[in-house]
Symmetry: C2
Subunit: 267 residues, 2 copies
């Protein structure tokens, strides 16, 4: 631990979307270990079963036994009611003695990576992708910031789980690249507008998740598909844990430039 | 004219969105002067009156008298039927002796620049913005590429009218920055995927248009509003004509890297 690093994330309210699987699930577990007693996790996902199982696991953990409150919100963020139900649940569990609000915008979908840009003639498909991956993330973030306004003694941190795809075009990944570029710019604007806020665009790297399985089996571009496949067979995918530990270190050090894109491989 | 520059844009089918006003209107006029006889312009906008007036002006021009065909498509690109009606109209006027398809994705809206990101809690508002500014542009481009596939002797060029806002965050411009970043990435992916295609992300600079009037009067961030105001009073806005001439030069030279962001001030 560096001398400037804080020891914990405070008495925090952590809202994590896409918390039932992959990187979101690992983030929930890692955060539960770094928050002070009296903290609350609000876990959001579409799958009730997966959320309950994570909730049960957390209840058995040291943090759970020490009284960590875990609230599950089964919601579809592509629907108008999604962000609203997350905010309602967060307000319910909030208490005035919390000193840190952490929102992790992790939920995302890959889109159909088997097809090339010229095949996307259906507006409803693109609209629906952007609604889930971009609009809901802006509206949830805005709603959380309004629900928990700036006040002395309260730190507010917003994390966007981004990707190299926000910066670099990848063949047959038009929806994913477009959505990630949009989202990252959105959070860069937010960082400019709200100097009291800490905004982090964290790119977790190629993770050994279900999404990567789809990437290496379904990617339309043969060369990119082979790259993903080679990363898998060559053992070059990161575990969610390894990447998440680096994210936690960033949060504890708290020295990143607000709004910056920070890649796991830069750390 | 440099020695490598072509003298004209060929016998072209030019599809221009947002053609009734501002940069789109100027692009229609400039292109009409640079295409060969027998070419066709398909002009798309929501306002029938403004389109008819441009059509009348073009009919009186030298190009019009020489037989340039101008087809108006009154369409709302935010609606599913918008891109479809543009493609139908383009197919109607296409003839086999055309040797260049040029699609100018110019239509865009500013979004509400009087408010900051944290105020965007309404998903329908954000969805609608992204549908018009991002989805429609992808779906129209995809549909045009499918309608006019690659064949020997046919050049295909897709232009995206982009902005500095695609690269740099501006306070109180969250929708515009997000939409432009999304769109630019989309066209970068397209350029990677379709090596036969010429894709240009052209940033026309701060133009003396109705959009700039809104920018300097409505921008929520006082410092940015002053910047726009100072650019206007200091005479530092570009005319659409001056910027469009540079775009035409890029197209005639045809040496830009496909997918690249080219700013008017780089030229």
């Amino acid at each position: 631990m560096s001398s400037s690093e804080r020891a914990d994330l405070g008495r925090a309210l952590c809202v994590i979307t896409g918390a039932s699987r992959g990187f979101g699930r690992t983030t929930a577990i890692e955060m539960s270990r770094l928050v002070k007693p009296g903290s609350v996790l609000v876990l959001v996902a579409r799958s009730a079963d997966d959320l309950r199982s994570l909730q049960a696991e957390l209840a058995e953990s040291d943090a759970g036994k020490a009284g960590l409150l875990v609230k599950c919100v089964v919601a579809d963020l592509a629907q108008m009611e999604g962000p609203e139900s997350v905010v309602s649940a967060s307000k319910e569990v909030f208490s005035e003695d919390l000193d840190h609000i952490i929102l992790v915008n992790n939920a995302a979908s890959l889109g159909d990576v088997s097809r090339f840009a010229k095949s996307f003639t259906n507006m409803a498909e693109v609209d629906s992708y952007l609604s889930f991956n971009v609009s809901s993330s802006l509206c949830l973030t805005a709603s959380i910031l309004q629900a928990f306004p700036q006040r002395p003694g309260l730190q507010r941190t917003v994390i966007n789980v981004t990707s190299l795809c926000a910066l670099k075009p990848f063949c047959s990944w038009v929806l994913y690249c477009t959505g990630k570029a949009a989202r990252e710019m959105m959070f860069r604007v937010l960082a400019e507008e709200e100097p009291d806020l800490r905004v982090l665009n964290y790119s977790p790297g190629p993770l050994d998740t279900d999404m990567q399985l789809v990437a290496r089996s379904r990617t339309g571009d043969p060369s990119l598909r082979k790259t993903f496949s080679d990363m898998f067979t060559g053992g070059r995918l990161l575990t969610c844990e390894a990447s998440c530990v680096k994210l936690m270190k960033l949060l504890l050090e708290d020295t990143y430039t607000s709004g910056a894109h920070v890649d796991v491989f830069d750390l």
